[in-house]
């Protein structure tokens, strides 16, 4: 099939798939940021068991392949009497893994702050919570805008895991499988999805650099 044939026949589905991919991406990324911040605060807090738990989280989810995690969620959890929808399984996988990376980027952001400001915060009488909220996390986030932009793109690509489970509506990769089992779209059907992934990535990249320029801390 040519591109125009594909678009005329599956155009609506592509738009739907693009929106699904966007939705998965942004929900996953928001979840990953929240969990990433929590894990990071755990990793620098004064309570040793929490620090260790945070480190263990990162070691596990940074090193587990997304497909393995998804298979575990879909096939193993029901044996533990936990039955989740396919959509939930995909989301959990695409939140937990990027969260580990988000925490790593935030940690390097924290390291960039410098011990002096931490000492200044402590000498003003800030407790750990105030210091995190007012001094550490705001700066760590600013320092990690560019890596986080990359993480957002990586998260988008990770959502292609959704193609491995029956989902309706389908994501961009899932749609390609769907088309190619019904028609002979071949590489062309992939190409359309690829253009949509790339276009999204370019937009994310632009927004990321813009935000970075806006909030960058001059030193």
């Amino acid at each position: 099939m040519t591109i125009s044939e594909l678009l005329s026949q599956y155009g609506d589905k592509y738009v739907e798939a693009l929106l699904t991919t966007w939705q998965l991406t942004f929900i996953s990324f928001a979840g990953a940021m929240i969990i990433g911040i929590i894990i990071t605060v755990m990793r620098v807090c004064p309570v040793k068991p929490l620090r260790i738990s945070g480190d263990i989280y990162v070691q596990i989810f940074r090193n587990i392949p997304g497909a393995s995690l998804l298979i575990f969620l879909v096939y193993a959890l029901p044996n533990l009497q936990v039955i989740l929808s396919y959509y939930q399984c995909v989301l959990i996988a695409t939140v937990l893994i990027p969260a580990a990376f988000a925490s790593e980027y935030l940690m390097s952001g924290i390291n960039a702050i410098g011990i002096g400001q931490i000492e200044a915060a402590r000498s003003l009488g800030m407790d750990f919570g105030i210091m995190m909220r007012k001094v550490v996390i705001p700066q760590a986030v600013r320092f990690s805008i560019l890596p986080m932009t990359n993480l957002l793109i990586a998260t988008m690509l990770t959502t292609s895991l959704a193609s491995q489970v029956p989902l309706n509506p389908k994501d961009l990769t899932g749609l390609v499988s769907y088309i190619n089992t019904r028609d002979t779209g071949g590489v062309t059907s992939f190409l359309i999805s690829a253009v949509m992934y790339c276009g999204t990535a370019v937009i994310i990249g632009q927004i990321g650099s813009y935000i970075d320029r806006k909030v960058r801390i001059v030193r």
Partner: protein, 257 residues
Amino acid sequence: MERNKDVLDKSLEIPVVELRHVEKYYGEMHALKDINLSVERGEVVVLIGPSGSGKSTLCRTINRLETIKSGEIRIEGKKLPEGGKELAELRTQIGMVFQSFNLFAHRTILDNVMMGPIDVLKRPEEEVKKEALELLKRVGVDSQADKFPAKLSGGQQQRAAIARSLAMHPKVMLFDEPTSALDPEMIQEVLDVMTELAHEGMTMIVVTHEMNFARRVADRVVFMADGSIIEEAAPDEFFTNPKSERAREFLDSINRH
């Protein structure tokens, strides 16, 4: 030099800062050896000595940025807590000015001064802002209030850092080599602010290499070497007639250039 303190009352008061038999180690290194020091209200104590003598370490133990192995540190008679809420609370009463300013890089100068009172002391924003602007005016950086720290010169940053500490209404101010990171032409503007503070009756402990400042402003000079306090004296006496061999050598080495 007229000071806002009641000399008659002084002997009855408990010291603002008191260290007794303080010992500190960095691994094998004996960094502080049996330190005994007492600072009265309104007193300006200048710590001097060769680098590595432990004067900065001593200064930093007073708000527990450095822990100690044994001994006792009291702030207005109250033992310095080891951690937690009590330590944080006591730290609000101890101002600290660092060699490298350490302003919060992501907030404006005005925010830097306001954060302590608002976020830690939970005071109302309006009142704090008014006071912060007055403090910035007092140290001469009010025109920079809305700029970020990196836009200011070192001298301006350090004066803003002093204002940030003052905003907490501390009982004592610690200065850990406040002019050592500054270009020569900026040292004086910071020393001027510190001199003014001293004249207003602030209790100050100052680690510095500025001998002229020590001579003019200090009530007492504490000379340290190799982790011990070797000699304590009024500045005139110390600079003209040091008792210890170690202090004489130190002063000679400075006067040589």
